[in-house]
């Protein structure tokens, strides 16, 4: 399936501030404890910064080369490991949940989205 990288670019351009924010992430890990999902699972891939950097962060870095499989691969991170409760907190002021949410919106705009008939987190495999 084809995705529209021009559309992705224009959606990324609308959130230029998020690019700057993500680039200042110090990977300090302070946001981890504010995420119930990380606290319950202890899974390093569920820290808020990991989820944002490996979804929207990747989109900013390699939007030209993205394909449908890249977006599908993000599903288990941005839907499977985040409920968009928006409780994550970064002392540097990075709005992490907005970044994850924008990654989800970009995925949806390209036909990749959560499907709750597949399971309670909207994806097939957790």
């Amino acid at each position: 399936m084809n995705i529209d990288t021009k559309k992705i670019k224009s959606m990324l351009d609308r959130k230029g501030r998020m690019k700057i924010f993500l680039s200042v992430c110090a990977s300090c890990g302070a946001c981890a404890d504010s995420c119930f999902y990380y606290r319950n699972s202890g899974d390093p891939e569920s820290t808020p910064s990991y989820k944002a950097l490996n979804s929207l962060g990747i989109m900013f870095r390699k939007w030209k080369k993205l394909d449908y499989d890249d977006l599908t691969a993000m599903k288990k991170l941005i839907w499977g490991k985040c409920v968009m409760c928006r409780r994550c907190y970064c002392p540097l002021g990075i709005d992490i949940s907005s970044a994850i949410s924008w990654a989800r919106t970009i995925c949806r705009a390209n036909g990749v989205y959560e499907d709750f008939s597949e399971g309670p987190s909207g994806i097939k495999d957790k």
Partner: protein, 218 residues
């Protein structure tokens, strides 16, 4: 979560009759989870409406329509459309309508209740948001949503063999409450007569969580 179902297509067509361009807006919150108004349902509603020749449809699904920051994503999209069909619960529809007061915003769903997911596609109502939760005394079984009469001092005289007189296929909630409390040795919880309910939910609700009072706007 909030449970909703799609309205009959004829009713939706009636809302948008005469409109030349319609934006169908999904909600990735509750109505996506209950398979009524997420991205998948936006796509299929657009297919169903497309028989409507000469009308331009587009779709957009946001995280939640009950949060203004997400609703604001529509700001740059909405120009040029003559109507919006919202696939959120009633709260979401109203938030979209509030953000775009000049735009006719129509509900594509009927919001039916607050409930839980029994199975994929099967939902059960178990709370009516009464504002005075009784579950502490009733063994975790809601006497408002699950008892046909919503009584606080049950059972009524119609409870028979564990079934409700209103529908004999339905369990009597008060019978279940009794059995559960008995098993837990807590029957004293329902021995006192409860005062009449204040039915606070008859007026519009606003909730400010403790600690957030300073953020409340006048």
């Amino acid at each position: 979560m909030v449970i909703a179902r799609i309205k009959p297509i004829e009713e939706i067509l009636g809302f948008i009759s005469g409109k030349k361009s319609v934006l169908v807006v999904g909600c990735a919150g509750c109505t996506a989870v209950c398979l009524a108004g997420g991205q998948r349902e936006v796509d299929s509603l657009i297919v169903d409406l497309k028989d409507n020749k000469g009308v331009i449809f587009d779709g957009y699904t946001m995280e939640r329509q009950c949060e203004m920051e997400f609703v604001a994503e529509l700001d740059h999209l909405i120009d040029g459309f003559q109507a919006v069909l919202s696939m959120a619960c009633g709260a979401g529809v109203q938030f979209v309508a509030e953000r775009f007061p000049g735009m006719p915003v129509f509900p594509a769903l009927d919001t039916v209740f607050v409930g839980a997911n029994r199975e994929v596609g099967q939902y059960q109502e178990n709370c009516r948001c009464c504002g005075d939760c009784q579950l502490a005394y009733t063994g975790g079984i809601c006497p408002v949503a699950l008892c046909a009469k919503g009584i606080y001092n049950g059972p009524c005289g119609g409870s028979r063999n564990g079934k409700c007189e209103v529908d004999e296929k339905t369990a009597c909630a008060w019978c279940q409450i009794y059995e559960r409390l008995k098993d837990q040795g807590r029957l004293d919880q329902i021995m006192n007569i409860k005062k009449p309910m204040k039915w606070k939910n008859q007026t519009q609700g606003t909730l400010v969580q403790r600690g957030y009072e300073k953020f409340q706007q006048d």
